[in-house]
């Protein structure tokens, strides 16, 4: 019985992989990008972490993820993200959105709870770095001090527009957003492409993304102020920067209510952020795997 099960799973994996590589357009992925109008709730239990790139700030653990989504007419609300989509056509859509800025999470007091709520909103947060250890050799010319005494960086909201274009099983996105809360007057743009594979109950998504952050945004979160210098950090002025991301999601649907979900994202920060004394590394890895229940 065990042998049979093993063969069956092995066979399924081979079939899955062969289908992925040999006939990548065999299945429609459209349903994965559709949601029922109305309220949709869910909760996931699992294990994961959003690495916190900020020096001496712990990784942000992810154990419980809520999902609150509301689709009404042209409006949708998904956790912390509000979207208005006035233009929807067969292959493209144009949206105006407002969402929590991800960089602020790393400095927030309740970052774990915020991250859990923020992450499911479906926008790629910045990845992160393992926390600095006391015996870690400091990066050249970076001087670090008491991270608990740096000036306060507030959570901010971004608002902007996004255009999505669907072609076969690909989705291309271009977005631009400006800060709404007026703390840093930051601007952010992103280009992304993702490919969906749906075979029976399996769903696999592979994505690539480039984000551009303007100087104001980077300097607010990763630059050092006079206060930061006084508590030991070297002087640093943030520059416009990029984040390059690779993402993979795998889901298995046991039923309409139950599913296995997993996400992993690798991100590389360009030097405009990575050179900050508040940052440890430019290679970031975030992941999560768990069981999700949908109501």
């Amino acid at each position: 019985m065990i042998v049979n099960s093993g063969c069956s799973i092995g066979l399924r994996i081979i079939l899955l992989l062969s289908t992925l590589y040999l006939s990548p357009q065999a299945h429609s992925t459209a349903p994965a990008y559709l949601a029922d109008e109305g309220l949709s709730l869910g909760i996931s239990l699992g294990y994961g972490q959003l690495d916190n790139p900020v020096y001496n700030k712990g990784d942000i653990p992810l154990y419980v993820l809520p999902r609150v989504e509301l689709f009404v007419g042209d409006f949708s609300f998904a956790n912390t993200q509000l979207t208005w989509t006035p233009i929807t056509r067969e292959n493209y859509q144009l949206s105006v959105f407002t969402q929590l800025n991800e960089d602020g999470l790393y400095f927030a007091k309740h970052s774990a709870a915020l991250a859990a709520i923020r992450t499911i909103s479906g926008r790629p947060p910045m990845g992160s770095i393992p926390p600095a250890m006391g015996d870690m050799p400091p990066t050249t010319q970076k001087r670090r001090g008491d991270i608990g005494s740096i000036s306060n960086r507030k959570l901010s909201f971004m608002t902007g527009a996004e255009a999505l274009y669907d072609w076969q099983n690909w989705r291309f996105s271009v977005s631009w957003a400006m800060e709404l809360t007026n703390y840093h007057k930051g601007l952010q743009g992103a280009l992304s492409a993702q490919r969906l594979y749906k075979i029976d109950q399996h769903l696999l998504l592979l994505g690539i993304e480039v984000q551009h952050l303007n100087r104001g945004l980077v300097d607010y979160y990763y630059g050092t102020s006079q206060q930061d210098v006084q508590v030991g950090f070297s002087r640093f002025e943030g520059r416009s920067s990029q984040k390059y991301g690779l993402k993979a999601s795998y889901q298995y649907h046991f039923s309409q209510q139950w599913q296995f979900i997993s996400d992993v994202k690798y991100q590389r920060l360009s030097s405009g952020i990575a050179d900050s004394p508040l940052i440890n590394d430019s290679n970031l890895l975030s992941f999560y795997a768990g069981i999700a229940w949908n109501y």
């Binding site: 559709l34 029922d36 869910g42 479906g122 926008r123 769903l203 599913q259 996400d263 999560y288």
Partner: protein, 127 residues
């Protein structure tokens, strides 16, 4: 005495069944449209009713939607009789004699359509 009573009872049942069969064979009611697909809480629409019977000269039409409505003194044959209906379940229309004996019935099936919305990312996309 017992035998006579049993015989009478059997005759009564038989005559009732035969009369119903006779009515059923010669009566007809049809509704257009026969299905209602909605994404609202209730199905709301105007329907057209056609009917015919040889059983009686005048008939009643009973509509069971959110309420029960009776349209009587109708001729034995009718076309395109307009009725507005509203319900969140199937709607029943019956053709009856003036004595409210059922002749024939039909049902409008109510279906709910889930409106699908395009999403920016797949559900449970975490990062």
């Amino acid at each position: 005495m017992l035998r006579t009573n049993s015989f009478l009872l059997m005759m009564l049942i038989l005559s009732f069944t035969l009369s119903k069969l006779a009515f059923a064979e010669s009566s007809h009611i049809e509704v257009t449209p026969s299905n209602c697909v909605t994404n609202e809480q209730d199905c709301v629409m105007n329907i057209k009713v056609d009917w015919f019977t040889e059983a009686t000269s005048t008939v009643c039409i009973r509509v069971t939607d959110q309420q029960v409505r009776l349209f009587c003194q109708k001729p034995k044959q009718g076309h395109n009789f307009l009725i507005a209906v509203r319900n969140n379940r199937n709607i029943v229309l019956e053709l009856l004699t003036e004595q409210l004996i059922p002749l024939e019935s039909t049902e409008i099936n109510v279906f709910y359509q889930n409106i699908k919305k395009r999403r920016r990312d797949i559900a449970w996309s975490i990062f």
